[in-house]
């Protein structure tokens, strides 16, 4: 085969905030602003503006204060802001990618974004609206991929090819956000009874 071996992963360590969100970490003046910070859209974006908030809990139920979460999602029409996107240009007012530290004393991460449209599965079926998330922190040896789905999308979720692959209903529900006063709450549990479904992408 002659294939090269992928560079192996190592933990992001306790100081990933220096590398990923240095201004937030107090290392001011290196970059004008932290990459991926602020709303994922500009004025005039198409679609419903939403806020996502969540925690990452360890196996003792303690929220991580040293984590970083990245979000990747399609625009309101289900188009990705990527040069590989074959279906046409995405909304120029929408970035598609965001990065948030788990912050403060309670370890909340936040994304100001829009609700994504539907994206095809590899066999052409349509997936339910979803946001891909990637999580790194001290003690996480390889970045964890998961997805957030929307609780109001009952039909789309019931027919989503990835959600359908998860046999256990309780596990499937770990990928559903909870909507409260216009904010989507999505807590991630690294282990324990509520362990979030993580994906081998």
């Amino acid at each position: 085969m002659g294939r090269l071996r992928e560079t192996p992963s190592q933990t992001a360590g306790p100081y990933v905030h220096i590398g990923a969100v240095p201004t937030f970490a107090g290392l001011k003046g290196v970059y004008p602003e932290d990459l991926g910070s602020g709303p994922m859209y500009e004025e005039g974006v198409k679609g419903e503006r939403i806020t996502i908030k969540g925690h990452i809990f360890d196996g003792s139920g303690t929220p991580l204060l040293d984590g970083v979460v990245e979000a990747w999602q399609a625009d309101a029409d289900g188009i990705y802001n990527s040069p590989l996107e074959p279906r046409g240009p995405s909304d120029p007012k929408f970035r598609g990618w965001g990065r948030s530290a788990t912050m403060g004393t309670d370890g909340v991460f936040t994304f100001e974004t829009i609700k994504p449209g539907r994206v095809p599965w590899h066999d052409g079926r349509m997936q339910a609206p979803h946001i891909a998330l990637w999580i790194v922190a001290r003690g996480i040896n390889i970045g964890l991929h998961t997805r957030m789905y929307f609780p109001e999308e009952l039909d789309a979720n019931a027919n989503d090819p990835l959600l359908s692959r998860i046999e256990q209903k309780v596990r499937r529900e770990t990928l559903l956000a909870e909507e409260k006063n216009g904010v989507y709450l999505f807590d991630i549990h690294l282990q324990g009874n509520d362990e979030t479904v993580f994906l081998d992408v």
Binding site: Q10, I18, P22, G26, Y31, V119, A132, L190, D200
Partner: protein
Amino acid sequence: MMRNYNDVHPFIPRDLDLHPPSYAPGYKTSVLRSPRLSLVSFTNSLTEATGPVFGHDLLGPNDHDLTVNYAEPGESAIGERIIVHGYVTDAHGKGVPGALLEVWQANSGGRYRHIRDGYLAPLDPNFGGCGRVITDENGYYWYRTVRPGAYPWPNRANDWRPAHIHFSVFGSGFAQRLISQLYFEGDPMIGLCPIVGTLPDPEAADLLTARLDMDNTIPFDARAYRFDIVLRGRRSTPFENKLEGN
């Protein structure tokens, strides 16, 4: 010809035997932070096969030079000056252009500029500890920094991290996202480190070790270390006639 989503090739499954397992009790923090249930596998959709791309216009003039990007004008960071350089390729050996590489590290004394780092070694007023570069059209990158120091950390009673530089890479798809660490050839601390010890494959630590590269040393300025990074490869379609690759 109209392109459709099937033309965005999914990634070859990750060789999880090469990467550290989530639960690695020698590295104690992993005990409470490791998923215990199986990952759910599937073939990439557009969600995983696409990813954000960052333009060279993102970069400031000193983003690639950690010796000066936090320093007072006319000053530079204290320590052994080094260049780190190499290629970012995919698993088929093809260079990955436009890959964003973000790096962060301790100073030459082994101290991070972070509120939670209380190691006795002094902070260097002219060293911040982060930088970034984007690979060129061939997948090549280089940056300048000082060689970081080893430092003690709370794990077992007497654990010290080998000198290392953390790095994060974006390729062309979100499934390629990678964070890892670069170690330095000849460092006796590598074999003693529980975080290096999370790697199950003896070859894995070798893949993370930068080589002293005297051919590219800049005389009276900086020694060079060569460090190539390999990202996951994509599957190709059977009718593609390629001269190289899979």
